[in-house]
């Protein structure tokens, strides 16, 4: 397993996203209220660039006519057919077991620990002052 530095923390503010390429793969980095999540940029349904979709919340209903809205900003809606994917797990809402997008483990680490460790920063040099988003692949 290789660790890749994919972004500085301040590059992806809360509610925002960044598309990066790691080892030839397009991966979207998402910041949900300070937590970072990563999913592949290919919708498992029909191949759309999934990470261009709208970031939405989860709507559920205890009964018809009730709309319970939660987890604001934690789902990604495919830009084409509107399938919803849970950014925390990569699972689609409608077919969680059958249809999922690859999700990746992310960690936020301080620059000083990274400089000393064994990692690959493909896109930019790492400096000790900043915090970085690190992806394991």
């Amino acid at each position: 397993m290789t660790r890749h530095v994919v972004a500085t923390v301040d590059q992806v503010p809360p509610g925002q996203r960044l598309l990066v390429t790691v080892a030839g793969r397009e991966i979207g980095i998402f910041n949900i209220d300070g937590e970072f999540f990563a999913v592949g940029n290919r919708c498992p349904h029909n191949g759309a660039s999934l990470c261009k979709g709208r970031i939405v919340g989860l709507v559920e209903a205890s009964q018809p006519g009730s709309y319970q809205f939660s987890r604001k900003g934690e789902f990604l809606r495919c830009p084409w057919h509107g399938w919803e994917f849970d950014l925390r797990t990569g699972k689609s809402w409608c077919e969680p077991d059958r249809t999922k997008v690859r999700s990746y483990e992310l960690k936020v680490e301080a620059g000083e620990t990274l400089v000393e460790g064994d990692l690959r920063a493909e896109t930019f040099p790492v400096s000790v002052e900043k915090e970085y988003v690190v992806l394991e692949l």
């Binding site: 397009e26 084409w80 057919h81």
Partner: protein
């Protein structure tokens, strides 16, 4: 959106060669058609706008779940609605998908449903010229469709005859929700003109005629409204068959566009079965309805059915007839079909080529 736009590498497995039968061009602003519209109608449009048989003058009856019914990734950077930028259309669709010919299906303004017939007819003339000037002349891969305001048959026939000799136009475009079912005789002069000009009639989902979307009233949700377009297409097909349109116009060819595919075999069988019982009512229908369908009607593939089993999809294609299927993407709309991924079955190379390219090439006469 803070997102880097990386070029996606298309899988090299198939070199795509596609005829896309359903591309929706849009106007950056409605002023785009001013050069082709008489002053009276420019003023009319500014003052009165669209005047249709439903509650919203400009919006559709049921708001879509995606704005402009479009792919979220199809908005041009320079502004304007999806489908309004030829550059983006090329970069995002025509070039990477190997589109050799793309059929334009303009839906804006709904000219055929305008209650003011003269306004509708003026819009069709303007939008037909607009298609050629704004699109076809700018990209030789594109082809225009002859819009007609079908409730005014004289104007429709005049427009068909005016465009019939122009190779930029490949077909006549009608929307299914006409004032009366399309097979009724008031529309026959349009079919006659189609045959005279050797143009197929294409029926693309849409239109508004004041009739509820179902025989039992209006649905509440877009989820229902999206479903019923396939049922409206069934009624169009039944009307064309049972009115005897194909008996009267044996050369007529019809394309059912964006109506779905799953219902075709069952509707054909249903029409056959009950024609057998009730044929004394329609003696002008000489042959089993399914034969007319098989002989006169083609279907575009989008939105592709996803039965959850490849065998069911192949069985469906077998029963419709592989030679009747014309590929379409519906770019830039939300339910877009990608030529690489939308068939959830393993097609042979020959089958894939036939649907993506060969059938349309033959149907529209591009092989001649």
């Amino acid at each position: 959106m803070s997102i880097m736009d990386l070029d996606r590498k298309s899988p090299a497995k198939h070199r795509l060669q596609v005829i896309d039968c359903d591309i929706h061009p849009a106007m950056t602003s409605w002023k785009e058609i001013h050069p082709y519209l008489e002053k009276r109608w420019i003023d009319h449009l500014a003052v009165y706008g669209s005047h249709l048989r439903h509650a919203f003058s400009e919006a559709l009856s049921h708001p879509r779940m995606s704005p402009d019914a479009a792919r979220v990734d199809a908005y041009p950077e320079e502004g304007g609605p999806p489908g309004s930028s030829l550059d983006l259309m090329r970069k995002q669709h025509l070039d990477p998908n190997g589109v050799e010919v793309g059929m334009l299906i303009p839906l804006r303004w709904n000219p055929g449903s305008q209650r003011n017939l003269d306004f509708g007819a003026a819009l069709t003339r303007a939008m037909n010229t607009w298609q050629v000037e704004r699109w076809v002349k700018q990209d030789p891969r594109l082809r225009a469709s002859v819009l007609v305001a079908q409730e005014d048959t004289d104007a429709s026939v005049a427009e068909i005859d005016a465009r019939g000799g122009d190779p930029n136009f490949t077909q006549i475009l009608l929307l299914p929700r006409t004032d009366e079912p399309l097979g009724r005789r008031r529309y026959w002069p349009i079919f006659e003109a189609a045959v005279r000009n050797n143009l197929p009639i294409t029926v693309h989902v849409g239109g508004t005629n004041g009739h509820p979307s179902t025989g039992g009233g209006w649905g509440s949700y877009y989820m229902e409204e999206h479903h019923m377009v396939a049922q409206a297409m069934q009624a169009v097909m039944a009307s064309l068959v049972f009115e005897g349109v194909f008996e009267r116009f044996p050369q007529l060819r019809v394309v059912i566009m964006e109506g779905g595919l799953g219902w075709i075999p069952s509707l054909s069988a249903r029409m056959d079965k009950h024609w057998n019982r009730l044929r004394s009512e329609v003696p002008h229908v000489k042959r089993p309805p399914s034969e007319y369908v098989r002989q006169h009607v083609w279907f575009t593939t989008q939105p592709m059915e996803e039965p959850g089993s490849a065998a069911a999809l192949l069985d469906l294609f077998d029963r419709i007839g592989w030679d009747r299927l014309l590929f379409a993407t519906d770019y830039p709309h939300w339910d877009y079909d990608d030529p690489r991924y939308s068939f959830k079955a393993n097609l042979t190379e020959a089958q894939r080529q036939q649907i993506l390219y060969g059938n349309a090439r033959r149907f529209y006469g591009f092989d001649k």
